[in-house]
């Protein structure tokens, strides 16, 4: 039996959770077992978890589970996993997932592989993940009976072609959280960077924050999320949460536009898992072209408006 934790933000099931549920179903099919999705307090989107592959959908209900505290959440998940005798517990490799995966491993006496990026080739073992900040991949065998996996975001396509199932509500006990959340600030509008499939990113070549209009317009035209390089965030031209790269957010969108970014190795470490990279830079020697699928050598202040016009 495979148990997938479908995590939420602001009372809604996250995209990463749908990916995890489909991953859990495909792994269950490989192993010839069933997949159960578990979430808390009937969040928005819970009714669709079946269509993403869950054979069974469980909502564990208790007001104490309305928290981001990994200790409270992991305990509820592992208790349920033990109750149903789950062989695999799958969570998302997200901010929530990172606070619970390690705890689940201890609670369930299970080996953990975090940031898994594909189904195992041999159904029994060999979970693949990226290592050395994108410079290599590895396959890891888990030696314990119970296995915990966290799934890297945007690495596995959610599939909603399965049959819907009704949600089963279970009232449960929960720990009292020792972490009191006092404020949550989320950026409204575009998709958060770790979940974004299309990203338009710009660097020092923009010359100043006043020139970002064309970047925002390009992003709006294709429905992308905007990002930036480290020097841009450090100079305060753009907010910190837009910074992608090794020290910022690591992303793996389908399409990454790098505009006026030279392509330092620290930047590449956070974006080199993008499926398609387009580099626009006036310097033909910019190292980023070596990592690009498509390159445009030219003045971004001319190229980007032309690109927007062509897209429209």
């Amino acid at each position: 039996m495979i148990l997938v934790f479908a995590e939420t933000q602001n009372g809604k099931i996250k995209k990463a959770a749908f990916e995890a549920v489909t991953y859990g179903r495909k792994l269950a099919d490989q192993l010839g077992v069933s997949a159960t999705a578990v979430t808390f307090n009937k969040p928005e989107g819970v009714d669709s978890l079946g269509t993403y592959g869950a054979h069974k959908v469980i909502s564990l209900n208790n007001d104490k589970l309305n928290t981001s505290d990994g200790q409270v959440l992991s305990k509820a998940i592992s208790s349920y996993a033990t109750q149903i005798g789950a062989s695999h517990v799958i969570v998302s490799h997200s901010s929530t997932g990172k606070s619970i995966a390690g705890r689940l491993a201890i609670q369930l006496n299970a080996g953990l592989v975090s940031g898994v990026s594909s189904l195992p080739t041999d159904a029994a073992n060999g979970y693949q993940k990226g290592v050395f900040s994108g410079k290599a991949t590895t396959k890891i065998d888990i030696l314990t009976q119970v296995k915990v996996l966290s799934l890297m975001g945007n690495s596995f396509a959610p599939d909603s072609s399965f049959e819907a199932v009704s949600v089963e509500n279970v009232e449960v006990d929960a720990l009292e959280s020792r972490v009191k959340t006092i404020e949550v600030k989320t950026i409204s509008g575009s998709t958060p960077l770790p979940e974004a499939e299309l990203v338009v990113s710009a660097g020092r070549g923009m010359k100043g924050p006043e020139n970002w209009g064309i970047i925002e317009e390009l992003a709006q035209t294709i429905g992308a999320t905007t990002a930036c390089s480290r020097p841009v965030a450090d100079s305060g031209w753009r907010p910190h949460h837009e910074h992608v790269g090794q020290t910022g957010v690591a992303i793996r969108p389908n399409l990454y536009f790098a505009i006026g970014i030279s392509g330092a190795i620290q930047h590449l470490a956070g974006v080199n898992n993008s499926k398609v990279i387009v580099v626009i830079n006036k310097d033909p020697e910019a190292p980023f072209f070596k990592e690009a699928d498509y390159g445009v050598v030219g003045d971004l202040f001319e190229v980007v408006p032309r690109l927007i016009a062509a897209l429209k």
Partner: protein, 245 residues
């Protein structure tokens, strides 16, 4: 206030990575450093907090004597003393048990880590340690202030930040924003030589995972250049060739 900062050894950011027979990481010709997130964010913030609250910072590393140079660098940045648990790390659970076992033998108000290591990119150990110690854990902390026994801590979440209050003791992993990188000065380096580095024996723990193989990514195909005057062609390629629009 007693602060423990756990540091790991990693290949430097620009190191070329290769494997022997696709099975083991080839360490020859690789320069090793203190994992940047452990150093820049966890250690520097730990040293700042210790100085604000007349506390101490202890560095903890799980590894062999090859790591002593890295530990000395941490002492030069401002930690008071260091402990190395003398063993070759096997997996994250193994390391977490070593750390938790050490913390139980002493008592710390705060245990800090970097957000992840730049080699195995797991973010696994901090949550495991928190669980083994039955303490709260805050991941990806971007700001940390302590007043009395209570910390106010900001952390990165998807597309935003969350601020929480938590009482000491607890475990946190540190991300960008916690502190600024600090280069050790000559005085720090000289003083570091005299600071205590205690070596303790490891506890015996079975590994629960093992690497079965490593692979380098496929060579990137040659970049396809599109004329700067012809953005219609780029749009066409992205739609019909790459199929990403």
């Amino acid at each position: 206030m007693k602060i423990l900062v756990c540091v790991s050894k990693t290949p430097e950011t620009t190191a070329k990575i290769s494997f022997e027979g696709g099975k083991t990481f080839d360490k020859s010709n690789v320069n090793f450093i203190m994992n940047p997130y452990d150093e820049w964010y966890a250690l520097v913030r730990g040293v700042e907090l210790a100085s604000e609250h007349s506390g101490t910072v202890t560095i903890l590393n799980v590894g062999t004597s090859e790591n002593d140079a890295i530990i000395r660098k941490g002492l030069a940045i401002g930690a008071n003393d260091a402990v190395r648990i003398d063993t070759e790390p096997r997996d994250s659970l193994f390391v977490a048990h070593q750390i938790a076992n050490f913390v139980k033998s002493d008592s710390f108000d705060l245990v800090l880590f970097g957000k992840e290591t730049i080699d195995y990119n797991g973010s696994e150990v901090p949550a495991m340690v928190a669980e083994l110690l039955d303490q709260p854990f805050i991941s990806y902390a971007t700001g940390l202030k302590i007043e009395g026994q209570t910390a106010t801590i900001a952390r990165d979440i998807e597309g935003g930040t969350e601020v929480a209050k938590v009482d000491l003791p607890f475990v946190a992993s540190a991300a960008k924003g916690m502190a600024e990188q600090k280069i050790p000065n000559m005085r720090g380096i000289m003083m570091a030589r005299k600071k205590p580095l205690k070596v303790v024996a490891a506890v015996d723990i079975e590994a629960q995972t093992q690497f079965s193989s490593f692979e380098l990514p496929a060579e990137k195909t040659e970049c396809k250049y599109v004329d700067a005057e012809n953005m219609e062609e780029l749009v066409r390629l992205l739609k019909s060739e790459a199929k990403v629009l």
